[in-house]
C-alpha cells in the first residue's frame, strides 16, 4: 500500500538569519523538495519614494543612503547624476573622478559582504565573512575619513560633493590599492577549490540567459548567466569611458558563477581604482549651484551600474524645490523575481544558497 502524501507549506522568515533581512519565503514542499515558492516582502517599507516628494533635492540625498545600505555611495551617485542631468549642471573633472573612486571602493566593499554572506550560507560558517568584514573595514575607514560616517555617507550633492577629500586620503588609498590584491587572492584560495563548496554550488540554481533577460535582471546575476551587459560599458556615464577594464561573465549562471563573477569584479574595480588614482586631476570639487535647487519642468532617468545591477532614478519635476515624483529602479528587486524560477525543484538547503547568491538588500526592495 502506497503512503498517501500531500504538499505542505513551509514558512521561512521574515525573522530568519539566512533571509538577509526581513524577507519571507512561503515554500510549498513535497518532502524536502520545493514545488512552489512565493516571496513575501514589504516588511521594511518606509515610503522613501513618497518622502522624496516633500524634501529638497539635496535633502533627499541623505535618504538615498537608506535604500541599498551596503552601497550608499552608489545610490548618492545615481541620484545626483539624475538630478544634474535634468538641471543641466556640469560637474567638474575632479568631482567625477572622486565619485568614480568612491563608487568603485563601494563595489568592493559590497561584494566582500556578498561573497562572505554567500559562503556563510554554504556552510563555511563565519570564517570567510569575518575575514571579509575586516577588509571591508579598511574601506569603511576611507569612507569615514572623507564623509564622516561609516554606513550612511551622504557624501555627494547636486553639483558636486559635500567636501573635498582630505589630504590624508590619497596616501591611505595608495596603501589600500597596494594591499588589497593580495587579500583577494588569499580569500580566493580559501574556498575556490573547496570540494564541498563545488559540490553544493556547481549546477545549482541555474538561471538561463533567456530567463535572466526576460525578467530584466542586471548586475552580477545577469553577467553570471553569460550576458555581457554592464552600464559602465554599454552606456558610459561619468568618466568610465576613460578606463580600461573587462566585464567578467559566467558560463552557465549557477550559484558558483555568481560567486566567481563577484570576485572577478572586485579585481576589475581595483584596476579602475588604480587608473582613476593616477588620472585624478586637481581643481574645484564643486560647481556652484543656487540653493535650493530648482529643476526645469520635465522628466529624467539616470542610471548607473550599482553593485547589484542597474540602479536608476526616474525623476519628474514640476519646477518646484522638490520632485513631483521620484521612482527608484532597484536592482535587487528585479533580480529577486528570478528566485522562484531558480528555486523550484531544488531542496530547501539549496534554496537558501540560491537566495544568498542573488545578494539582495531588503532596504532597496521595500524602499
Amino acid at each position: 500500500m502506497a503512503i498517501k502524501t500531500e504538499p505542505f507549506l513551509l514558512n521561512i522568515g521574515p525573522q530568519h538569519p539566512s533571509t538577509h533581512g526581513v524577507f519571507r519565503m512561503r515554500a510549498t514542499m513535497d518532502g524536502e523538495v520545493i514545488v512552489d515558492m512565493e516571496p513575501v516582502f514589504g516588511y521594511l517599507h518606509r515610503g522613501i519614494e513618497k518622502l522624496a516628494e516633500e524634501r529638497t533635492y539635496n535633502g533627499f540625498v541623505s535618504l538615498t543612503d537608506r535604500l541599498d545600505y551596503l552601497s550608499s555611495m552608489s545610490n548618492n551617485f545615481a541620484y545626483c547624476m539624475a538630478v544634474e542631468k535634468l538641471a543641466g549642471i556640469k560637474v567638474t573633472e575632479r568631482c567625477e573622478y572622486i565619485r568614480v573612486i568612491m563608487a568603485e571602493l563601494q563595489r568592493i566593499a559590497s561584494h566582500l559582504i556578498a561573497v562572505g554572506a554567500f559562503l556563510n550560507d554554504c556552510g563555511a560558517f563565519m570564517t570567510p565573512i569575518v575575514y571579509m568584514i575586516r577588509e571591508r573595514e579598511k574601506i569603511l575607514d576611507l569612507f569615514e575619513m572623507v564623509s564622516g560616517q561609516r554606513l550612511t555617507y551622504n557624501y555627494m550633492r547636486v553639483g558636486g560633493l559635500s567636501q573635498d577629500i582630505p589630504e590624508e586620503f590619497l596616501p591611505a588609498l595608495d596603501k589600500f590599492l597596494e594591499q588589497m590584491p593580495r587579500w583577494i587572492d588569499e580569500y580566493d584560495q580559501l574556498l575556490r577549490q573547496n570540494e564541498v563548496l563545488l559540490a553544493r554550488s556547481r549546477g545549482v540554481g541555474i538561471l538561463p540567459k533567456e530567463t535572466a533577460i526576460n525578467i530584466s535582471a542586471s548586475g552580477p546575476v545577469l553577467r553570471a548567466s553569460g550576458v555581457k551587459w554592464d552600464i559602465r560599458k554599454v552606456d558610459p556615464y561619468s568618466v568610465y569611458d576613460r578606463f580600461e577594464f573587462d566585464i567578467p561573465t559566467g558560463a552557465c549562471g549557477d550559484c558558483y558563477d555568481r560567486y566567481r563573477v563577484r570576485v572577478e569584479e572586485m579585481r576589475q574595480s581595483l584596476r579602475i581604482l588604480g587608473q582613476a588614482r593616477k588620472q585624478l586631476p586637481g581643481g574645484e570639487f564643486q560647481t556652484p549651484v543656487v540653493q535650493p535647487v530648482h529643476l526645469p519642468v520635465g522628466e529624467v532617468y539616470g542610471h548607473i551600474e550599482s553593485t547589484r545591477g542597474e540602479l536608476g532614478f526616474y525623476i519628474v519635476s514640476d519646477n518646484s524645490i522638490a520632485p513631483y515624483r521620484c521612482h527608484i529602479r532597484a536592482p535587487s528587486f528585479l533580480n529577486l523575481t528570478a528566485l522562484r524560477d531558480m528555486v523550484v525543484g531544488w531542496k530547501i538547503a539549496d534554496a537558501i544558497l540560491i537566495f544568498g547568491s542573488i545578494d539582495i538588500v531588503m532596504g532597496e526592495i521595500d524602499r
Binding site: G59, T152, N154, Q163, K175, E186, Q189, L190, L191, E195
Partner: protein, 165 residues
Amino acid sequence: MKPEHYGIGIAKGLRVTIKHLFRHPVTVQYPEQKLHVSRRIRGNELVWDNVKCTGCATCSKACPIGAIQIATKIDKEKNKYDVDITVDTGYCIQCGLCVEACPYEAIYMGYSYEKAKYRRNEIIQSNDMLLPSETRIRSGYMSPGIAAQLPEQTLLLEKITEKEE
C-alpha cells in the same frame, strides 16, 4: 564537473586559516581601548554656538527630518533677539545638512559616539545643553580649522602588522 583530486581544495583553505593564527589581531578590547574616529565624524550630538547664531533658521529648513526647531523672541531688557533652539536627537539622522547650510558656522556636528540616553526626555536638547563643553566636542565636519586640531584617525590599513613571508 568533479575536481581532479579530492582534498586539495580543503587543504589550501586550511593553509589560509592556519596562516591567520600567526597574525596579529586587528581588533581592540573596546571599552578599555578606544580608536580615534575620523576628524570629520558626524557624531550624534550637535554643538551650537550661541554667539554666532542669528536665529535665521536655515539649519531648520535644511533638515530633511525636521529635528531642529528655532524660535526667536525679543528680549526687552537687553534690547536684542533671543534665539531658542531645540534639537530632537531622537529624530536626528546625522546627515550634516544643517552644518552645511548654516551661513554663520554656528552649528557643528559632535565629535562623539556612545551617547545613549536612559530617559526619553533627555534626547530632546535645547539652548544651554547644546553649547560646547568638555564632553561636547565640535567635530571638524565642514570646518577644516577644527579638524586640524583633532587627533588623527586610526586606520586599520596601517594597524595591520603582518609578518613578512
